[in-house]
């Protein structure tokens, strides 16, 4: 079996546009210097690489100030900056039961330091009723933090509705856009999102090791950095500068990765986010349709391409998710992720804890043939399991 099908785009998108790879090669070949630490030509060019990427990120998310775009190594780091920053000395946060451990673990760490948080329950399809957020807000709630779409079921969350609750109550909202940035429009200005955490290596078509935080105006004053150090600015002072982006960007950044991220975002602009989303919706629809008719397959989540990202979670009767993933990989060259997807709370919500599910996540470069091959493979495994079980 020479054919391979990569269906793990919700973890890391692959392949990348060739422009992403070329931008990284070009940075290393022709620039390669430390951004903003020296005044020479290539150091300035490295700095331009960063500011161009900030401009691209700000443009993509409707942020008016590109200096409020902070680069981090991934969305997890961005979420930690916000959660640890706002709950460093107590207080209360509100979240949903569909969160990834990138939210749940920092919240639990904050709880161990004296803060607390409440979790709005979601339906078995992973859907949130925004009123369940409103009802758990307390007088000392300092933060509402939630995912824009579940990494387990793809369920798209009512972020705009929660944003209006947050605005009414005067509580900062932090959105985890790991699964949506680049594929579902986000406008931080129009939606009044104070903290938008994103990652570069999924639907933004950047490399691993890139991500960031988009800060609304004035929100930087609410939080302290996770890390302190050299910024190339105000070097005569031994305390951290308070201006953006330097306050939150200590040490030499991943400029080569950010060069790739900038090219990835440019690819979205050239291709059109609509075209990307439309293609992914078609693939999701075909997966839902094809898998839905296989005996023994159970699909989780909204089962509606309009209400989910390109993520389909399933179980096959009589086979664990890890056995299924192994059989798909070994026998059919299909790469997918099994287990709990770092989101035990989400799996509890949909009723698949601790067994987990098999998650199929197509991407923009996935083809209709890839999906047909996958549906046929799972159908064949279902038959094999059924006949095997009889013997």
């Amino acid at each position: 079996m020479n054919r391979t099908v990569y269906l793990d785009n919700a973890a890391t998108s692959w392949p990348k546009p060739s422009s992403t790879i070329e931008a990284m090669v070009e940075f290393n070949r022709s620039i390669g210097a430390n951004p903003g630490r020296s005044g020479h030509a290539r150091s300035v060019d490295a700095g331009r690489t960063l500011i161009d990427a900030r401009e691209a990120v700000a443009g993509l998310f409707g942020a008016s100030n590109m200096l409020g775009v902070i680069f981090t190594k991934n969305v997890t780091e961005a979420l930690n900056i916000v959660i640890s920053g706002l709950l460093n000395d107590g207080g209360h946060a509100v979240t949903t039961s569909m969160e990834h451990n990138s939210v749940m673990r920092p919240l639990n760490a904050a709880r161990a330091r004296g803060a607390d948080f409440s979790v709005a329950p979601c339906s078995r399809r992973g859907e949130l009723d925004p009123r369940d957020i409103a009802s758990i807000i307390m007088p000392d709630t300092r933060l509402i933090v939630m995912t824009h779409a579940s990494n387990v079921t793809g369920t798209i969350m009512p972020v705009a509705e929660v944003a209006s609750i947050a605005r009414e109550r005067g509580i900062p909202l932090c959105v985890d856009a790991a699964q949506t940035a680049g594929v579902i429009p986000i406008d931080v200005g129009a939606m009044d999102i104070g903290f938008l955490a994103f990652t570069g290596h999924k639907s933004l078509f950047g490399p691993q090791g890139t991500g960031g935080l988009v800060l609304g105006k004035g929100y930087e004053r609410m939080i302290e950095p996770l890390m302190y150090g050299g910024t190339g600015s105000r070097s005569e002072f031994e305390v951290q500068p308070d201006f953006l982006p330097d306050k939150f960007e200590s040490g030499t950044p991943n400029t080569i990765g950010i060069a790739g991220l900038g090219a990835g975002i440019a690819f979205i602009g050239q291709t059109g986010m609509d075209a990307i989303r439309t293609h992914e919706k078609k693939l999701t629809a075909r997966l839902l349709d094809g898998l839905g008719s296989i005996e023994g397959v159970r699909i989780y989540g909204p089962c509606d391409p309009e209400r989910q990202t390109a993520v389909v979670s399933l179980t096959l009767q009589g086979m664990s998710s890890s056995e299924l993933a192994l059989a798909l990989d070994e026998d059919y060259g299909i790469m997918a992720r099994s287990g709990l997807h770092c989101a035990p709370s989400a799996h509890r919500t949909i009723g698949t804890f601790p067994e987990g599910t098999l998650r199929l996540s197509p991407g923009y470069f996935t083809t209709r043939e890839d999906i047909e091959h996958t549906v046929e493979a799972i159908a064949a495994l279902a038959v094999r399991k059924k006949s095997g079980a009889k013997t």
């Binding site: 500011i51 200096l67 600015s233 005569e236 982006p245």
Partner: protein, 74 residues
């Protein structure tokens, strides 16, 4: 640029400097990004040099868009 005289505009950070560069390019104002002259600041970063006769245009291009620390004539 008149002999031995030019202006430099200083910013808080390299990011601000390079953001300002974007606005100056857009306004087609001749400039150059240079290391901050050691005798005006101990910062290790960069600043933007331009001809003194462009001072008003530079200020106009950046006001409301990029905060700057000061403009020095050297």
């Amino acid at each position: 640029m008149s002999a031995a005289e030019y202006c430099v505009i200083l910013f808080d950070s390299v990011s601000s400097t390079l953001l300002a560069e974007k606005f100056l390019k857009k306004a087609a104002i001749l400039h150059k990004v240079i290391p901050v002259p050691r005798h005006i600041s101990s910062d290790c970063g960069v600043c933007i040099r331009f001809s003194p006769d462009l001072r008003d245009r530079v200020e106009q291009a950046l006001t409301g868009s990029v905060e700057f620390r000061e403009i020095c004539t050297l």
